[in-house]
């Protein structure tokens, strides 16, 4: 009886807002926060479609063309496709840099998958001596910033004569330990029963890995590759350290310089550089969520 009256008094004390009002409020707040994300993106998109004179009128100072009030706009006053035409048809430098980025990123991703997926499978499912310390080592290497091994990486690459080539960026990226970590966590979520069924059907370890592991751990692999793509597409410290010739520079290094050379195409180049990661993300979004979820769930 006492509990009942206590319950009633508690229920009376708290008078939350009606459900509908609460839901509307949530939507308003969410929309406001999302606006914080959308406004810069729309700004960039609008600026990518502005002709050069409007760009200099509006954004002279950010482009480094002298001090003048910034007159930002979410829609161009004189929309024009000229920046893109200028970028895609009259900037050979841009093409070179774009393909440099591609050459440095795509083999690195392929390597990360070929080398990391088996290792992740071993960490996730096989019992072997020294598994825990080895995994701890991998996590430690994942946490360390690039600068810690920068000098010695430089010397190793110099000894192997890979400096000042694309391989100087590809090879260290192939053996990054972060993808192994993500894939391990994802492979750990595969139920035992699935694998035992495979073993019962006569699958060996390799077959179990190829047919069951890769298929079921697909979200983790996609997550690792997507995050690896974003990280390498934006790579800054490695090209600065290991590449001497400007003709080997990737887009992430070239883009900041574009504003000085050709203000007109600066924003258009930014949009073009943004397209691959964004499109990949939109395509792999659900796998990304699953992969990240797998890495976040406690064992």
């Amino acid at each position: 009886m006492r509990d009942l009256s206590r319950m009633i008094s508690i229920a009376e004390k708290r008078k939350p807002l009606p459900r509908v009002v609460r839901a509307r409020l949530r939507h308003i707040v969410c929309a406001a926060v999302c606006l914080l994300v959308w406004l810069p993106v729309i700004l960039m998109l609008a600026a990518a479609f502005m002709p050069e004179d409007e760009l200099l009128y509006r954004y002279a100072e950010p482009l480094g063309a002298g001090r003048e009030t910034v007159r930002a706009a979410l829609l161009p006053s004189y929309p024009s496709v000229k920046p893109f035409l200028e970028l895609l048809f009259r900037s050979p430098g841009f093409y070179v840099m774009f393909w440099n980025s591609c050459i440095q990123v795509i083999p690195a991703l392929a390597g990360q998958f070929l080398v990391g997926a088996p290792a992740a499978w071993a960490f996730a499912r096989f019992p072997f001596r020294g598994k825990k310390p080895l995994f701890f080592l991998y996590v430690l290497l994942m946490v360390l910033p690039f600068q810690v091994t920068q000098v010695s990486n430089y010397l190793v690459l110099d000894r192997l004569h890979f400096l000042n080539t694309h391989l100087a960026l590809i090879l260290p990226a192939v053996w990054a330990t972060f993808p192994v970590f993500i894939m391990t966590k994802s492979f750990e979520t595969i139920p035992n029963a699935l694998l035992e069924a495979a073993y019962l059907d006569g699958a060996g370890e390799l077959r179990a890995f190829l047919h069951v592991g890769l298929a079921s751990g697909y979200p983790g692999i996609v997550t690792a590759l997507l995050l690896g793509f974003i990280d390498n597409w934006n790579a800054l410290e490695q090209p600065v350290a290991f590449l001497k010739e400007m003709s080997l520079w990737p887009l992430s290094l070239y883009l900041p310089n574009i504003a000085q050379e050709k203000a007109a195409v600066a924003f258009a180049a930014g949009i073009v550089m943004m397209m691959p990661p964004v499109l990949l993300y939109l395509n792999g979004q659900s796998e990304l969520e699953q992969g990240v979820a797998a890495s976040g769930v406690k064992e």
């Binding site: 994300v37 700004l43 290497l141 000098v151 990486n153 053996w175 890995f209 504003a259 930014g270 979820a293």
Partner: protein, 342 residues
Amino acid sequence: MNDREQTEEEPLRSGNRAGYAGWRRGNRRRQAKGRSWHSRNWRRRKKSGIRRRQARAAWFFLAPSLAGVVVFTAVPFVDVVRRSFLDAMGRTGVGLANYAAVCGNIAFRLAASNTVRFLTVCLPLLMFTSFALALLVFRRDGKGNLYKTTLVLPMVIPVAAMVLVWKIVFCQDGLLNELLNWLVGATQVTKLWDNDWVNSSTAFPILIVTYIWKNAGYDLLLWLAGLASISESLYDAARVDGAGAWERLCYITLPGLSGTFGLVLILSVVNSFRVYREAYLLAGSYPDMSIYMIPHLFSHWFLTLDVQNMCTGSMLLVTAALAIAATAGFARVVFRRLGRSR
């Protein structure tokens, strides 16, 4: 149960014995076939057939990754350790003189203190912001996808592209100054707000804001995953018991997310050193003193190929990281013991 299993599996074999003898014989056969997880001793056996096969296969699976990691990370790391004890030419040992020099280096002290300051200020803010956003966006019926996509989008946009927008907002005649002037009521002539936000002492908060803008999405996904793993029935039970939203948050959500918290922390620390990219693109190689961090210092040392300083600095960083990891592990053990004793 073992007897029943044995008779069901080998119903027509001659010599099929019931009872203990039959169990023993079946057990021996099973052990020979390697299916010893059915036997009573399977937990005590060191490795059954499959596990032995897996342990052997493990090294084949690991070999390519391990080889590369050794060549590109472990060997350089050992080399770094070695060089931190040698002199500039790399030949004669100088004991701890390098460490003394680096610890006394003013630039290193500034960079280290700025890095620590950044980590201790930015990481909690980032985790708190992303947690608040996760609570806001989380829907069990899987509907808030537009918000989720939007909030993760900043992580995907390349830094080099975003830097232009940040310059638009934070430059001396940029949007932030315009907004502040408008709020204060200053005219074009009597501008009160004229900072160059990125190149003055306000660089630190600006860097934190841009960093949180960019990285909240990733932590948001982790928190959402953690929230989804707490079962709904706990919340229903709490509601029936009269718990309000705040109580539900404190007594169900937060404890349920304790595992996620650790992982969010680790992954945020991993990502935190990437702030150098934004700092470099926004403020250049020699930024304002408040955001001069360890990566800036290392890149300067690298330009002059100051190998011993870099190696010693790296060793100090690694020792710090190991110390923190050890403390965290120790703290976790202590908390677990405390939890158990209660």
